[in-house]
């Protein structure tokens, strides 16, 4: 009967109930939907970082990360390849690259870029470049002079498919190495900075230009599940000769993204709290109004012998129903909004430069994190009941005679 009373009481003033439910619905929706957008941004930052030539794990010669010069190349790639073949779990993929800073120039412009020598077949399964060529063709394994450039770089250099681009860098002997390539493909990337920074040639072409022999700059590994990165990295460290190689996971390779992820965790919970504070005032106000409207009734309850704790429970029951109704509708609305945007995302191209600075994508897709949904609902339910305790205790403290004399 307590539950029945609670349920019926909230419908005594349907307009007020609907108003406070609307506040709860909007609050829960904002927590879930905007939380999912924030998660979407952070997930895409991780994905962009991983697919932009990072992978889940990388192996470098010791010292390459601090000083990425050609002298710090891996001189025995077969050792690394043997370790990878032995350690990597089923489904994992890997590739080797040459990566070096260089200057690109044509008749009109010149500028700094990163020259990446890739194994076209292996690379396609690991980084974004395999699917990113929008004009021309992707590199072939035996392509000696082909080069793929980003759309933004092509625009900046006022060049196009079929034109030449000269790359210049330092070779292993300390001499200037240069080679002319012909643009065979133009790629698009999530971020414009990626299009401007990287140019791709075959690994053989890069090794020949830089007189590297069979040396490589790095091995990049993509696992089926990023959660296994730490374990696989530890295994690799154990197998590879100690002191010669650095094995790092994406968390170490992308320290900014890792820091932003941690910050986002706090942002989301702070966001939940801010929304709740706004909503909490509404809840207290509404329950308080409902309590003061029914002073005589609470006086009657006490006159009939109801203990103060039972009155607190009665008021909290009403609050519980309000919160649950608002939460159910707020969750439904939140999920609907997320699913509605799951396919198209929110296009923020107009703000892309500013967003790219922070490593974000042009289109944001919301991502549901179950722990966020559970936290949002628990925040609303538990803190909602906590703030309702104030009017509930107030109701329990009315003295029967004074309460029943109230008009």
């Amino acid at each position: 009967m307590y539950l029945q009373m609670g349920w019926r009481n909230i419908w005594r003033n349907p307009r007020r109930t609907i108003v406070i439910m609307t506040a709860v619905i909007i609050g829960v929706w904002a927590m879930i939907f905007l939380g999912a957008l924030m998660r979407g941004i952070s997930e895409q930052m991780v994905r962009n970082g991983i697919t932009t030539l990072t992978g889940h794990i990388q192996v470098h010669h010791t010292g390459f990360r601090k000083d990425p010069v050609i002298e710090n190349s891996i001189d025995k790639p077969e050792v690394v390849e043997a370790a990878l073949s032995k350690i990597l779990p089923q489904g994992a993929r890997w590739t080797t690259r040459v990566r070096v800073d260089a200057i690109a120039s044509n008749a009109r412009h010149s500028g700094g870029i990163t020259l990446v020598g890739i194994d076209p077949g292996r690379e396609a399964g690991i980084s974004f470049i395999g699917q990113a060529v929008t004009e021309g063709v992707y590199l072939k394994a035996d392509d000696k002079y082909g080069i793929i450039v980003g759309k933004a770089l092509a625009d900046k250099f006022e060049t196009k498919l079929g034109r030449k681009l000269v790359l210049m860098s330092q070779d292993t002997k300390g001499d200037i190495a240069s080679r002319a390539f012909r643009i065979t493909g133009i790629f698009r990337a999530e971020m414009e900075t990626t299009e401007k920074q990287f140019v791709f040639v075959t690994i053989a072409a890069a090794q020949k230009m830089l007189k590297l022999g069979n040396e490589i700059s790095e091995a990049s590994i993509l696992l089926t599940d990023y959660k296994g990165a730490d374990r696989v990295a530890d295994d690799l460290k154990r197998v590879l000769p100690s002191g010669s190689y650095d094995v790092e996971t994406w968390r170490e390779l992308l320290p900014l993204v890792t820091a932003v992820l941690k910050m986002y965790d706090w942002f989301i919970y702070l966001w939940f709290l801010v929304i709740f504070i706004a909503m909490g005032f509404g809840i207290v106000n509404t329950i308080l109004m409902a309590v003061f409207e029914r002073i005589r009734e609470f006086g009657l309850f006490k006159a009939l012998g109801m203990k103060p704790w039972w009155i607190v429970r009665e008021v909290l029951t009403e609050s519980f129903f309000l919160l649950i109704l608002g939460m159910v509708a707020g969750n439904a609305l939140g999920f609907l909004s997320i699913f509605a945007l799951a396919g198209t995302g929110i296009d923020l191209s107009a703000l892309s430069e500013g967003m790219e600075f922070a490593g974000m994508s042009r289109v944001i897709y919301p991502v549901i994190f179950i722990k966020d949904i559970v936290t949002a609902n628990l925040v609303v339910l538990i803190l909602g009941l906590v703030v309702s305790a104030y009017p509930a205790v107030k109701a329990a403290r009315f003295t029967p005679v004074k309460a029943m004399a109230h008009t």
Partner: protein, 229 residues
Amino acid sequence: MMNIVECRDVKKIYRQGKVEVHALRGVNLSIQKGGFVALAGPSGSGKTTMLNIIGGLDYANSGSITLDGNVINEMSQSKLASLRLQNIGFVFQAYNLIPVLSALENVEFVMLLQGVPAAERRERATAILEDVGLKDACSRRPAELSGGQQQRVAVARAIVSNPLIVLADEPTANLDSKTGEGLMEMMREMNEKKNVTFIFSTHDQMVMDYARRLVHIRDGLVADDQNQE
């Protein structure tokens, strides 16, 4: 016969700012079990205050009030709540039914607080509503009942848990004379049938005529005490 209520030199002062209002100035009153007693007097005479103090809804400033051997003016709020729940039924002038509950649920409510099992609650509430002539109104909510019917439900609620005493504060004040007479008839029947003690406050002559004992209160004192049997 034993006294169920014993009041000795009961005084009650209300303070409104700097003004003191002496509602009771030393009331002495004994009521026997099974009594059907009216506390009569004009407005402000102290009869409602007297009922509230006997019912443990309010504290006296001095004096002693004993209900069925329990000295209630020394009890804590919590103990008074238990005493009211187990031993006292209340009927109020404004009916004071719970608006979101049906007549049957209103009658069940006190038994719910007492922890009576659901099936027994329903059985006893249905039986008492039949006794007060509201068998067909069980499922109606207070707003769907007339004033007289609401007050009958209130009486049913007051007596369903077999209290020692029912305190009724001007139970007919909001009813027309015919309905009021019907209610008094019913309360006296309950008094005779179930031997429940009834004390009610009134300034209605018809109600006074129904009482077997009439206690006049004036200016906070018992002015007259008549046996009308």
